[in-house]
Amino acid sequence: MHGLGNIPAAQRTTRYNPSARSSVPQSSYPDQLTLENELIDAFERLSDSTCADMAPLWLAATRAAREGLLEQATWTEPPTDRYLRMAPASKSKYRALAAWRHAVMWRDAHRLADLDRGDREVVDAIYFTPAPNCAPYSWSRSAADCPALPRGANPSWVKERASEVAGKLLGALLQEHGHFDDLKNNWDQTAARILAVATRPTLDDVLKLERKT
């Protein structure tokens, strides 16, 4: 791996460093279709690159944020008791995890946070690799069928470093949210609302972040 170091906890920060940020477009979404197509692309990759529950968790997390989209679709039949029994209690932290993962892929946060190869490997191994479809919905030492971590890596160190890098990705998204929130276009505002969901503090628990205020 490249560029990796074991950073003491006292030096950790999850705040985004603006100086490391690359350019952000003035307005990315002239119409609903442009925004929608990007959301679809990331949504399709979300389940494939992680686990199946991420799709419904993202839909639940962003429900209110998507209300501004035109030609709203409706589901006419109520869910049957059978489905309600099967649906897991979707805790808010896992909804936030789904929203964050989607936003990382949607906004290409790896690039925005200017990650080096080693950091990408670490964060991808923990958070963006197919994992068992149950809590914690990411790499876990106790899950037998989780994919292997990078060769030779110490799991404890990788998890800790992954949290550091996850914080950088979160910081990049926070900055993106601020940018879109400043714009008046309807679709940029919708993008800002979806990014707001992806950067909620409820995420800190599952990413093991120590967010500085």
Partner: protein, 198 residues
Amino acid sequence: MNEATLRAWVRKELPPEERREVTRWMIRCTDPALPLILHGMVRELEESPVDAALAAMGRVWSQIVDGWNQLVDLGFASWSDQAQGQIVVASADPTAPGRPLSVTEAGDAWLVEVSGEIGATVQVFLTDAAGLAQTAIEGTIGEDGWLRETIDLPDTVAVTLWAAIGETLQEASSAADALADALADDATAVYAWRRVQR
């Protein structure tokens, strides 16, 4: 949007274009019932070994459709609209005269007609939106140059029939496998028919 289509989406059994439109529908749907239903369908899939096998086949199926679309892009296959906008016919032999695979409603059933060399083996495979794949027809081209047979089709939106014509077609375990084998090996022509809406 109906439950069968949503279930087919969860199982990754829809052709790419149809899958994308269902995803668009999801993104526009803010009904709180949708995440619950999707969660339930994911659990339903995980709890059934048969369904899990179908899901695996669904992934193969998507690859096949992707492969077919690549053939279309390269000019080795074609999709063409047919009457009423309900069905699409494709051929891996675009130079074939006439309409080598035809599927038309015949009362409560569907009449499947396949043309080819007299005596050639024909296998027709059916995959429905629920991912169920089966051999629909096995036979040979008759003296008039056609094989004609009436079959029942599942009452779902997305139904695809694959007809492979060749001398020594191997028996395959699924429609997706059959198409892959046929494209790779000894089929002289492969045709697809797809009902895209009702």
